[in-house]
């Protein structure tokens, strides 16, 4: 009995600690300014205002930062998906010399410490006139998500029995048709999950966006903009939290869509490659 009560208490503590920062962010975003600045904070929403969201959305460049982030993350993921699907097919379905070495290369590439490559990529971008372009950022994000995409798609492909394709081929499909009509529909959930996770990685990326977009402030992405909230909102914490909430929203939606896979699939994928 005592064991059960203490377990329940411990569970609640873990829950509160996990959730509190996010809860506080959302709560602050909806709180009227006088409540935010009150001497005693309120922990439950007493009165709700959308004023801070208005301030955040009205901030200069808000929509172009959203557009930039969407373009860069979306472009990177689409590119990674196409390139990775080809490679994953070769690895999961064909037999060739060097396959194992290739898989090992992808595994190693997945562990790249990108933080150590900030300087050379800045220099390369500068030399090739790619500095301050969203293209460069798209390419970097594409490369950051590519190894993960190959590994995960290969896993999803390997889980689809080859017999299905062969049966389709016996029934008169060409190899390409068999892939399009049989494998692709089965692969679609895997493609979706993989690309959404790639999207989150690119959406959240800060270090390269911070280094590669310098002169043209309109070309910044949301994370860089948000990191300098002091310049935009000063000490207006309500607006800052509203901007954070809006930034987190797509990520949260993706997590909700993928809820089942988040705990099982991705943990397995991340740990066991």
């Amino acid at each position: 009995m005592i064991g059960r009560i203490s377990r329940t208490a411990a569970a609640l503590v873990v829950f509160v600690i996990s959730v509190f920062p996010v809860y506080w962010m959302v709560l602050t975003a909806f709180k009227p300014t006088k409540d935010i600045q009150g001497a005693t904070p309120t922990f439950l929403p007493a009165s709700i205002t959308l004023e801070h969201f208005g301030t955040a959305i009205a901030a200069k460049g808000f929509f172009s930062f959203w557009r930039n982030s969407l373009l860069v993350a979306g472009g990177a993921v689409l590119l990674a998906l196409v390139v990775a699907l080809l490679a994953a097919f070769a690895v999961a379905r064909l037999q060739w010399k060097g396959r194992r070495a290739f898989v090992l290369m992808v595994f190693i590439a997945q562990m790249t410490p990108w933080e150590a490559l900030l300087i050379p990529i800045y220099v390369i971008a500068r030399d090739t006139g790619m500095l301050d372009t969203l293209w460069m950022l798209t390419l970097v994000y594409f490369m950051i998500t590519l190894p993960f995409t190959v590994v995960t798609l290969r896993g999803f492909l390997a889980a689809i029995p080859v017999d299905l394709e062969e049966a389709a081929q016996v029934d008169g499909c060409s190899r390409g048709q068999a892939f399009r009509r049989v494998v692709f529909p089965l692969l679609a959930p895997g493609l979706l999950a993989t690309s959404l996770f790639g999207f989150i990685t690119a959406w959240n990326e800060f270090a390269f966006a911070n280094v590669l977009i310098i002169k043209d402030q309109d070309d910044r992405t949301l994370p860089v903009w948000l990191s300098s909230f002091n310049n935009t909102f000063g000490t207006d914490w309500g607006a800052t939290m509203a901007a954070s909430t809006l930034f987190m929203l797509p990520v949260l939606l993706i997590f909700v869509v993928l809820q089942g896979r988040v705990t099982t699939g991705i943990v397995g994928g991340a740990v066991k490659g």
Partner: protein, 314 residues
Amino acid sequence: MTLLAERPVRATAPAGPRRRKRVVLPYLLIAPTLLATAYLLLYPLIRNVIISLQEFGLPQLVRGDAEFVGLANYARVLADPEFWGVVRRTLWFTAINVVLIMVLSTLVALLLVRLNKWLRLLVMGGLVLTWATPIIAATTVFQWLFQSRLGVVNWALTALGFEQYRGYTWFADGEATFGILVTLIVWQSIPFAALSLYAAMITVPQELYEAARIDGAGAWRVFSTITFPMLKAMFGLITCLEVIWVVKAFVQIWVISQGGPGQATTTLPVYAFQVAQSLQRYDLGAAVSMLMVVLLVLALLAYFRQLYRQEREA
């Protein structure tokens, strides 16, 4: 997914012109991946090595006429006591973070195993929410939580009777900032580690626990004689991953403190960036980041060894 034992692919041996196509096809399919990796990963890495062997400051960046100076940059970095201070700080930072992450995650995972379905779903939901929080959103919220005048942490500490925290400016103090960064990174890292450990723990056969309990073993004994030994490889794997992630943690530190106040939170990746960006000594920055890569490769080798073991046991 297996790294060592590739799934056997059905051998096909079609005759005639198709055969040639089969031989070329896989290489065509992997060509885009290889090209991208060569240009966007391998080339920057090699370029980093080259820059670290040159004299490469702002003039060389503009004119593009850097000259090789051998290992002079490395010699200069390694002779600099400031660099060794940064290395010590990085190791200390990594040790504190990883120990806290592993201990707390293990406790959370053990708790999850023992909860009823609804509480478990609740806690897992909370962990997933933390996991889903973007780093930049988290850094922003933590700055708000620890804000001096209106921050909820100072309010709570003052309400608990710690008067010295009224209006306390956390980010002006080195150790306090260090502590906040550790809290932030541990908070962000626990979901992955705890959920992975939980997923591994439920694979341990229940009979083993029952047998131990019948023999009168306590909770600690059950953990140290059954759970831990059974999941040793998994613990090793996650520890390696956490070490790698903490050593290269850059965004949290850069956004919250830029390595300051003073040098209090300057770890290796932050130092490399500071030297390159603020002092415009790209050569020294490249040398520091190569030394960091060496450190990470050591951790990575340990990780691959664990992965190899895990595959063999699985």
